[in-house]
Amino acid sequence: MPRKRDVDEVEVEIDEDSDSDDGRSKRKPNRRQGAGRGGGGARGRGRGRGKKQDSDDEEEEAQRGRGRGANKRKPAKKKGGSDDDDESEDEAPKKKKGGAAKKKKGGKAQDSDDDDSDDDKQKKGKKGGKKGGKDEDNGKGKKGDAKGKDKGKDKDDDKKKKKKKGDSSDDDDSDDEEEEESMSEGEMARLMEEVEEKKKLIANIRTKPWRMQRRLVVLKEAQEFVDKFEGALGKGKGRKWYAYKVMMMKKWIKFQRDFENFRTACIPWERKIKEVESHFGSSVASYFIFLRWMYGMNLVLFGLTFGLVVIPEVLMGLPYGSIPRKTVPRAEQDTAQDYSVLMDFNGYCKYSVLFYGYYNDQRTVGLLKFRLPLSYLMVGIGSFGYSLMLVIRTMAKNADVGGGDGEEGEFTFAWKMFTSWDYLIGNSETADNKYASITTSFKESIVDEQENQKDENIHLRRFLRVLANFLITCSLGGSGYLIYFVVKRSQEFANRTDLSWYEKNELEIIMSLLGLVCPPLFETIAELEDYHPRIALKWQLGRIFALFLGNLYTFLFALFDEVNTKLEEEESIKNASIWALKEYYANYSRMFNDTDTTPPPMNPADVIRGPCWETAVGIEFVKLTVSDIQVSYLTILIMDFARAVIVRFLNYCWCWDLEAGFPSYGEFDISGNVLGLVFNQGMIWMGAFYAPGLVGINVLRLLSSMYYQCWAVMATNVPHERVFKASKSNNFYMGLLLLILFLSLLPVVYTIMSLPPSFDCGPFSGKNKMYDVVMETIDLDLPAFMGTLFSYAANPGLIIPAVLLMVLAIYYLNSTSEAYQNSNMELKKKMQMARDEEKNRRNNKDSTNQVLKDLEDLLPNRSLAPPAPPEPEKAADERPTKTKPGSAGKGVNLQKDVALASPNPNALGPVNRQPGPRGPGAGGGRGRGRGAPPR
């Protein structure tokens, strides 16, 4: 019976009014005063009719009551009844006369507006507990809207009232005439109204801070009324449909909630991370959250690569050993299964599906005619596109969250104090963690606060910071030069053959030494700066990032050198292999003296092959990644675990306190770990095109390192000495990731666009450029006109305008966002001003008592009876506050009005209504919220 319920709700509001009478009693005096004044405070609503006498007051009330739904019909409500009649009379002529729909609409709009604002005000002002008042407002507002919207409804109301009441007073006559008409229309409209109302009211009934008992009384009365009321209301088929709709709506909401719960339950490692967070603070947890995010992204990349490239090749492509590129060459076959060879990703590994070279250049594979080369290229580009989109979207989202609330700093402690407990916790272990994390977060804030407070000797600090930056720039430059020098030397060495082990590996050794020495050096220098740990972390990250970038690009240049030599080599080999093939055929035919029979194909292991630079590059990246995994895991094992074990157990027999003294336990190295992750991801992005298997390796790595590092951090590390909070959104990490993504995009795109693919390996073999695959597909598989279309699209005449358009769009969006930012600032300023004003006002007069009273009303033992006793007081209170709008002596509600809504429409009275015949008499603000359009 949803509809019924709906009505119930409405009723509740209304009944509330009438029952408690508080709104009414409050309002009456106001109105009286207001009548002269022509409007003014939040509830000066009906006040406009100033010229009428006291009876008008009554009438207005009635009107209001009616507006509320004409349900004043409670037996107790005699007065209301007569009022209603009055009122309806008022409206009746209006209806007749002002038949123009437009006018009505205008009136309606206005009214509803007014109502809204009123409601707001009321809410603000009285939120606390002016129950009656608030309810009344809501109810009234809504009803008023409804009424304003269609007159028919009004009529209905009137009619119903009369029917039920029967005791209406003299004025009824005028009503009777119109009663008859527009019933059905009104009904329908009303039904629709109620649908709307219900939604609002469902939310609203819970807003009332009443005791349940009171709600129940109210509800019962409402139900009684509904029983009567229903007879008059919709009996058509609309009822069933409505019921069905409401039911479906409920089901849908329920489903949504369940789905939401399910989704939350699906977030992996939430518990683990929370556990870490509770012990180590949000900064360490932010690393793990980042790791989890990374894992999610890599899973998608993995799905793309394996689903569209690797698995089709394995299932539908030629098997191992069928063609040269899928066979280990004869010379390598003896050692192809040696452990050391496999660990270098040579031998069988090299000629496996893990690497670029294994893939065949057949245009289509299998029964499905899957275009593998095309798919290979598309997946390569698509994974870049996906990562780019994801990173940027995440950044934007984070920025949204971070920038949404500019007032963050304002209530740090208060918020922490009142909102940090998670009321959903029902597990004692979780609760312990929560206690720990709350304590941690308080400590973080205290550190922050102390950080803010100390500002001694700013000159020394500045000098030290400049000095530190100078030192770090020097060391960065030094390491850069060192790398450059070593690379030069290695180029010299390349021509010699008598090299020692050191000379062979000089570059790698120097680079890992730099990576080992520089970060601690930077950290030491950063001590000078004495930044807040959070800022210091960023600096540290930035510096190490610069260092690593140097390394990365040195590595890349070295790689490109290698690729270039291989490309040269390839030319000769190509000729050689063709020649060899010819020779083979020639030998064959000479041996058998038979040119007619085609010779058996050469054994694929014997064919002379090119160096296949793509596979070489892929192997480099895979090796790098694997060694990176090994190094980082070993570091954790030795630096953290072994250290922790030693410190823990040797402490019993040592001459100083190991735990508190020198070695101590390790701290979790956030910057190192984050950078490691970011650079690792860069490797993956760069290498994935040449070694599709790399993505799989990376997924495994991230998965294992989640468990491994969680364990390590919980078991062996201690929280940072100064626990600090990571910045709210980890956009800094994302920024690093984005930078790396661009940097790794460059070389890959360069190779795709400009280097010729190897002639005898990989999906693009035999083509001039890799992207020729796309051209080929367009030419062969798409209808001809598509080809011409593409050729048009590739025309510079089209591309240049497109680029121009994009630039313009960026410019436009940029300026729009700037404008928004400005208005945002403006609003913030306004809010601040409002707050100040409020503050001042409140200092002048302690008028919070209304709210307080309501609060008291809620205190135990007091609000047993639904009609709240303190209401008369309130009414009394209100009178003085109402009388002087804008003056300092006002209730909270009024203060807010004035402060927030700059021009208070109520206070201005007549101005906000259309002038009408009633104008002179109706003072102003009359019938606002009531929906009676001005005539």
């Binding site: 807003t207 104090m417 009142f418 029902g426 979780t430 206690y435 809620l858």
Partner: protein, 169 residues
Amino acid sequence: MGNKQTTFTEEQLEAYQVTGVTRQLAPHLVPLDYTNNPDIKVPATLIVTMPELKENPFRDRIVETFSEDGQGNMSFTDFVDMFSALCEAAPRELKTIYAFKIYDFNRDSFICKEDLKKTLNKLTKGELTPEEVTLVCDKAVEEADLDGDGKLSFADFENMISKAPDFLR
């Protein structure tokens, strides 16, 4: 506390006589003929052992706040009240009001520093040093106190809490 309580409020308003929860908690207190004698109280000690409340640092305060006698002994209506206010779907305003009452330990309609200290000690299980507690309380009052009387009135509290991003309970 999700679905259960939500449906509670809605359905409860209609079918008031359902006393399942009370029965579960304290079967011996519920007479067979409930309708004739609606004045049963469940003692606070029982209420706070509910799974929803048993880990909550403010459980005693919550129970006290919602009970009519202020001692935490709840009648069924109180009980329903409590969960309708605590439930996910309860409106913010309502929550604000009750939150204020919960944090107002001494029931003087102001959250003063003493209240804050109690709150803080409950939140952190007393792991902060007294100086830290004082510092935090001072800062909190300083931040949220608009009228400068050294304690938080409801308006202060409401203003502050309405801007809090995670006041969802």
